[in-house]
Amino acid sequence: MNRVVLLTVNVLGTGPEEAAHPGATLFARFAHGRYAYRVGLARLLDYLKRMEIPATFFWPAVEAQRRPALLQRCLEGGHEVASHGYAFEDHSALGDREPEVLAAAHEALTRLAGAPPLGFRAPHGLLSIKTLGLLHALGCRYDSSFIDDDSPYLLDDDGGTGMVELPLNQWLIDASHFGRKLTQARAEAFMREEFDALIEESGYACLVLHPRADIGVARAARLEMMTRLLERAQTFSVTFQRCGDYAAALLEARRTAAAASP
């Protein structure tokens, strides 16, 4: 059986706090995100190189504009750069501004990465009923924001014509545990139990990591935890794929199946 794991990274630096406190200079408790720039993201990239795992980095355009060199390092590492919106907007509440915000993010990431992003993950996981249609119009092939299934599915009925959804599992998001300040042993146990059952059931799992020290896995001790989890994942004979490659393969399989059917 061809089991697939998508290792994905939401590139959260200081952007979420800046969006919540516009115009403010951020210090200390509001500046955890600086760890991502100073230490976390580079460490995560070194780690993925050591582990030989290709990943998908969802970049908010505002973080990419601030740290273009780190975005380049993602590309040089063989990883995919996808869109995580512009500046942590709540897409469910953007209204008429949504098309321009999505287009601006798309344009900025296309320029910085040298190619248009193939996929999107909604900031805060929030979408409007128009989001998928707008992504389709921008040429996106997949979305990865939903928690409504164990396996990928087609988005035609939701406005994302010709697109595929690569759903998340909330308990395979590092921030679901570290945001609650669990010890890393508990976080590891939560993720291990969830992963084991999911991969057996559906043959698919999407992991979501953050390059921060507070809500993410960028602390050295937590990467050791990730090593145990990822080595365990290997025992299920999984392959790690980039979201764009996997979405393309799923869409190609659909075309082949449609062509073969009478």
């Binding site: 100073r38 230490v39 570290f178 010890t183 050295a220 001790a221």
Partner: protein
């Protein structure tokens, strides 16, 4: 990565005790009574328990004190100071909110109270709950401070920019309020003492392998923190575990700051 710690140590552990006495409750307008007595526990039991642990293990720690706690318990402050530990500043009444223009005066007030109480001016500061402003570092520098532990953005000390200039006489000694602090994992994460110990030891091992700067925060309170016997025992076991590492030294934050500022090029010091 080259890091040279004091006295040729291969790694350093700094133990930061945030007393957070009744000044916290009083600062919020509450009488520190009954179930609001967690800070009084620090004064009645917790600090003494810390002093016993540190004496048994032969280590010196840094005690971050609120100015108002020093007004309430001046003899306790002097006892900590006489035992050879560092007294550092931690607000007047643990102001865990935005202070605006009132901030410099409050920093000065706490500074004056602690200086007069123990006869030595504090050189270190940690923000109560991590609130700071553009006024903070310039004010601390003017008052003669040498370090700030409030930032959470690196695994190693670094030199900050203050008013646009890279400081040469002031250093950031980042703390870790995520996973080397008793508060979040007890209070929010509902961890057991034994679970926190395991987490701290995992952090210790990983930090020693990636730079060697270990900064533990404990609160000797009974409610949140490590004041009670079961939780204080975990603090001692952690120190014992750290001391098993060859070459690790337990130093005060002031000692570390002086070492780093004496030769910034020896370890690492650019602001990113």
């Amino acid at each position: 990565m080259m890091t040279k710690w004091p006295s040729g140590a291969s790694a350093v552990l700094c133990v930061a005790v945030h007393m957070d006495g009744p000044a916290c409750e009083i600062g919020h307008g509450h009488a520190p009574l009954g179930m609001r007595g967690g800070g009084r526990y620090a004064a009645r039991r917790g600090i003494a328990r810390c002093l016993d642990i540190f004496a048994r293990q032969g280590v010196k720690a840094t005690f971050f004190m609120c100015g108002h706690d020093a007004e309430l318990y001046p003899d306790l402050m002097r006892e900590v100071h006489r035992a050879g530990h560092e007294i550092a500043a931690h607000g007047y009444q643990h102001e865990d909110w935005e202070l605006g223009d009132a901030e410099p005066e409050l920093l000065e007030r706490a500074h004056r109270i602690l200086s007069n109480c123990v006869g030595e001016a504090p050189v270190g500061w940690c923000s109560p709950s991590g609130y700071k402003s553009r006024l903070t570092l310039p004010t601390l520098k003017r008052l003669g401070y040498r370090y700030d532990t409030s930032e959470k953005d690196d695994d190693l000390p670094y030199l900050p920019e203050i008013e646009g200039v890279e400081a040469r006489d002031f250093i950031m000694l980042p703390n870790n309020t995520t996973s080397l602090d008793d508060w979040p994992m007890y209070h929010q994460g509902q961890g057991l003492p034994s679970e926190l110990l395991a987490n701290w030891i995992a952090e210790l091992d990983a930090l020693i392998a990636s730079g060697g700067y270990v900064h533990l925060i404990v609160h000797p309170r009974s409610d949140y923190g490590s004041g009670t016997p079961a939780r204080a025992a975990v603090v001692e076991r952690f120190i014992v575990e750290a001391l098993r590492w060859p070459g690790l030294q337990v130093v005060t934050l002031a000692r570390l700051a002086e070492h780093c500022l004496a030769a910034p090029s020896q370890w690492r010091g650019e602001d990113k």
